[in-house]
Structure formats: C-alpha cells, structure tokens
Amino acid sequence: MNRLRAWFLAPTWTANITLFLAPLAIILGYSFLTRGVYGGITSPWTAESYQRLIDPIYLAILWRSFWVAGASTALCLLLGFPLALFIARAGRLKNFYLGLVMLPFWTSFLVRTYAWMFLLRDTGLLNTFLQKLGIIHSPLPLLYNDGAVILGLVYGYLPFTVLPLYATLERLDRTLLEAAADLGAKPWATLMRVTIPLSAPGIRAGAILVFIPCLGAYLTPDLLGGGKSVMIGNLIQNQFTTARDWPFGSAVSLVLMAIVMVLLFVIARGEGEDLL
C-alpha cells in the first residue's frame, strides 16, 4: 500500500503547501518588512509592525475582539447547554433534533447574518412589531452595535457548542446522577456539582470551537456592527485594502494565528486523540 498511499496524499500535500502554508510563510516574511511609498513592501527588515500593535488604538481593537468573542462564547455555552441536555435525553428523536440544530448551520452564513439585519434595523420586523403594539414609539437602535454583533455570532456558532456538549452529555454515566439523588442532592445541586463538572471536556471543546471563529470574525462585525464595531478581522482587511499597509496587516494576522494555535494546543492536549 505504501507506494499508492504516497500518490494519494500527494495532491492534498501540493494544494496545502502551495495554497495555504506558502501564503502563510509569505505573510510571515511581509510582517517583518517595511511599507513602501505606494503601499507595496520594501526593505529593510524590521519588527516595527509588531511594535505598532502596542499603540492604544490597536490594543483597544484587540480588547474589543476578545470581549465580543468572549461574551459570544459565554452566551453560546449558556444557551447551548440546556439544549444539548434536552437532546441527550430525547431518546429516539435525538438525531432529528441534532439535524434541527445543524440545518441552519449549513445554510449560507451570509444569508443568516442578513436575516438579522432584516429583523433588527430601524424599520425592521422587531421595531415595526413593537411600534404596532404601542410598546415603543420610536424605533430602538437594535442594529449597528456590539449587541447586534454578539447576537449574530451567537446565532452563527451556537451549533458549535451544542454538538460537543451533546457528545459528552450523551456519554455521561446516568447512575452517577441517580447516586447523587439517592444521597439527597436536589436536581439543581446534581446539575451544578455532578453534570456540569463531568461535562467539562465538552464545555472546553465547545468554548474553543466558538471562540476561535468569533475572534477572527470579519463578516458579522462588518454587517451587523456597521463599521462601528471594529474587530481584528476588520483591522486586517482594512490594512490590505484601504490603508494599504501590508506589513502591519500581516503582523496582525500572525498575532491572530498565534492566539488560535495556542487555543488549539490547549484543546488538542485535552482531547489526547487524533485531530481528524
């Protein structure tokens, strides 16, 4: 098999090296170069792009990204846990419910984000509805703020927490819950002191799976934040288009990659199994 296997892996290696790893290497090189007069890149080699990240403006964007991604992750876990618990206890309908969770996830991310623009804008469905009911008299500013971005991210990535949480809750030894009940624990105490601690692997996996894409989000903050809620992704895009500062954009990208890889290392160590 060994001869054939090498040929079978070769096309993927080729595609991955030329169209993923080599481009990352180029970005790494660019991040240590200087911005040219017309936007290109020139010598000399310098670490200036990384030093510029300490500027309070950029630190604020980093902080905001962490805050928005963190809040979205927390909400995903909070909303996803009871849902995963429900599905894990659903018996024969499990697969149907899992399908219901995954279905919107596989429909267009762009369309799902746009749907929230449709609901949240000033003349959108929610504001129109609330005004009709006479609860409010002028439209609430629901769109174009951090809250809308977090809502969009939670909506987009909720399935990422439900699946790993479901996987751990499903494997949970139910006799432990009975033991807790027999020993006098109230349902709430059982949940807090038995179920949740035992589902820690699922919680950690779900948290990282949501946090990573949220941290690097570009589309959601751009559409639902309306340019006001700038996150790392938007900063990178801006450096490569409008600002035309490729070295700085590259440096920011690599910092983002470094954070992602640290998080992955954490998850890989926790799982202790093959990645694919």
């Binding site: 098999m1 001869r3 054939l4 296997r5 090498a6 079978f8 892996l9 096309p11 993927t12 991955n16 169209l19 993923f20 080599a22 481009p23 990352l24 180029i26 970005i27 660019y30 009871p82 618990l85 429900f86 599905i87 206890r89 697969n95 419910y97 399908g99 219901l100 279905l103 919107p104 596989w106 429909t107 991310f109 762009l110 799902r112 746009y114 749907a115 623009m117 449709f118 003349t123 959108g124 129109t128 909506y155 909720l158 990573i212 894409p213 941290l215 690097g216 989000a217 570009y218 589309l219 559409l223 992704g233 990178i236 895009q237 990208s253 983002l256 990659m257 093959d274 990645l275 694919l276």
Partner: protein, 255 residues
C-alpha cells in the same frame, strides 16, 4: 423530576425557534408585495426582479462555475487523501488540514492575496476566476477529508485484504472494493464542498478579479447599504437550495 423535564422541553422549543424563525420570516417576507416590512399581499415581483437583474444572474453563473469546478477537484483530491490517511495516519498532513480549517477566513484570504501578488511578479496573469477556483479547491479539501474519513471508519478493512489475497492490486482493491462502499460519503462530501464554496464571501472577495464577481459578493455589496427586497428573494432561494442539498447529503451520509 417531571417539571424540570417539561421546563427543558419548553426551553428547547424556544431555542429551535431562535435557530429557525429568522430564516423562515425572511423567506416569508420575500413574497411580500411591499418593499417595506408591512405585509401587503403575496407577490413574486422580487423574484422576477432578481431574475431580470443581469449583475445578479451573471454573479450567480460565476458562483455556479466556481463551485462546480472547485467541488470536482476538491472531492477527488480530498477522497484520495482521506483514503491515504485511513490506511496510515500522517500527523503533519492531518495537522496542516486541521489548521487550514480553523484559520480565520480573513487570514487565509489575505495570505492568498499576498501569495498571488507575489507569484504574478513572475507570471503574467491576474486575479480572476482561476485564482478564486484555486482558493476554493484549497479550503474545501479539509471538509471533504473529514466527511470521507468518517465514512471510511465504518468500512471493514479486511475486505480489501481479501481482495488483495484474491489477486487484486492495490488500485483495484481501492477502486472496486472500498470506493463503492464509501460512495455515499463521497457524494455527501461533494455536496458539502459545493455549499461551502458557493457561500464563501471573505476569501473570495479578496482574491477575485473584475470578471469574477460572485453571488455572495453582490449580496454583500447590497446588504452593506441596507436591506433590499431583492436580496430577501435571493436569500430565500439560497436557503431552500442549500437546505435541500444538506438534507440529501445527510441522507447519504447516514445511508
């Protein structure tokens, strides 16, 4: 125990509504004859307007061409890779594929852009359909590998050994024994690759040229200016189209 179970069920209904209502409402309002968010009556005018908008139809054709070509290549390449990894895992390759999957799209996009610009210094080519297709093949492979390898794990490896013992060569064992067994998984992977490719905005918009505007790029440009009933109609079509593909794919994956 009983009331808590009921509470959980009520919560689950709420959660499913949260997941599905936004797309459902958007789809319903795509049939609204008014351009405002007040229901005025059933109408197909926005669908008709979308079909008569040449910018939209041209972009849709571009998206289809890109997605079909990228799907063909990534499915073949990814299936071969999954088979190779199933035979014996390669940690560097699996790790590299996994990394490509979790790398933020914006980073993948700008690094590809920088890479193309660098290559173009030596070759006289420009950004266009080909650069988009190459990018899509690259990022779809990992999805294909994941789906196909999951299917391969259900295959009995001794069947191939039996084929080899009976005189088949390695290629014949793959072609006539294992491949037919994993075919539903391969088709499911292809459908997934198609939806991922058709939907991509972030990477595509960075590596597209003037002649290769895709449907998500047009939708995005309109959506940035605000809500537009024509986009509601296209969105509904995409939701239904993607939904059917995913349902078919799920059927095949579990078949």
């Amino acid at each position: 125990m009983k009331p808590r179970g009921a509470g959980l069920a009520i919560y689950a209904v709420g959660a499913f509504l949260f997941l599905h209502l936004p797309l459902l409402i958007l789809s319903i309002f795509s049939f609204n004859s008014s351009r405002f968010t007040v229901w005025e009556g059933f109408s197909l005018r926005w669908y008709s307007a979308a079909l008569h908008d040449t910018q939209l139809t041209e972009a849709a054709v571009n998206s289809l061409i890109i997605a079909v070509v990228a799907t063909l290549f990534s499915t073949v390449i990814g299936t071969l890779c999954a088979y190779g990894l199933w035979k014996r895992n390669s940690r560097p390759l699996a790790g590299s594929l996994y990394l490509s999957l979790v790398t933020p799209e914006i980073v993948t996009g700008i690094s590809l852009l920088a890479f193309y610009q660098w290559i173009f210094r030596f070759l006289r080519v420009q950004l266009g359909m080909h650069t988009v297709i190459l990018a899509h093949i690259s990022f779809s492979i990992a999805y294909v590998v994941i789906v196909v390898i999951a299917r391969l794990r259900t295959v009995d490896a001794t069947l191939e050994e039996a084929a080899l013992d009976l005189g088949a060569n390695e290629w014949q064992a793959f072609r006539y024994v294992t491949l037919p067994a994993i075919l539903p998984g391969v088709i499911a992977a292809a459908l997934l690759a198609f939806t991922v490719s058709f939907d991509d905005y972030v990477i595509t918009s960075l590596v597209a040229g003037v002649d290769s505007e895709t449907l998500p790029m047009v939708i995005y440009a309109i959506a940035r200016r605000g809500v537009n009933p024509i986009v509601n109609a296209i969105s509904a079509l995409i939701v239904v189209g993607f939904g059917s593909l995913v349902l078919i794919s799920e059927r095949l994956r579990t078949a």
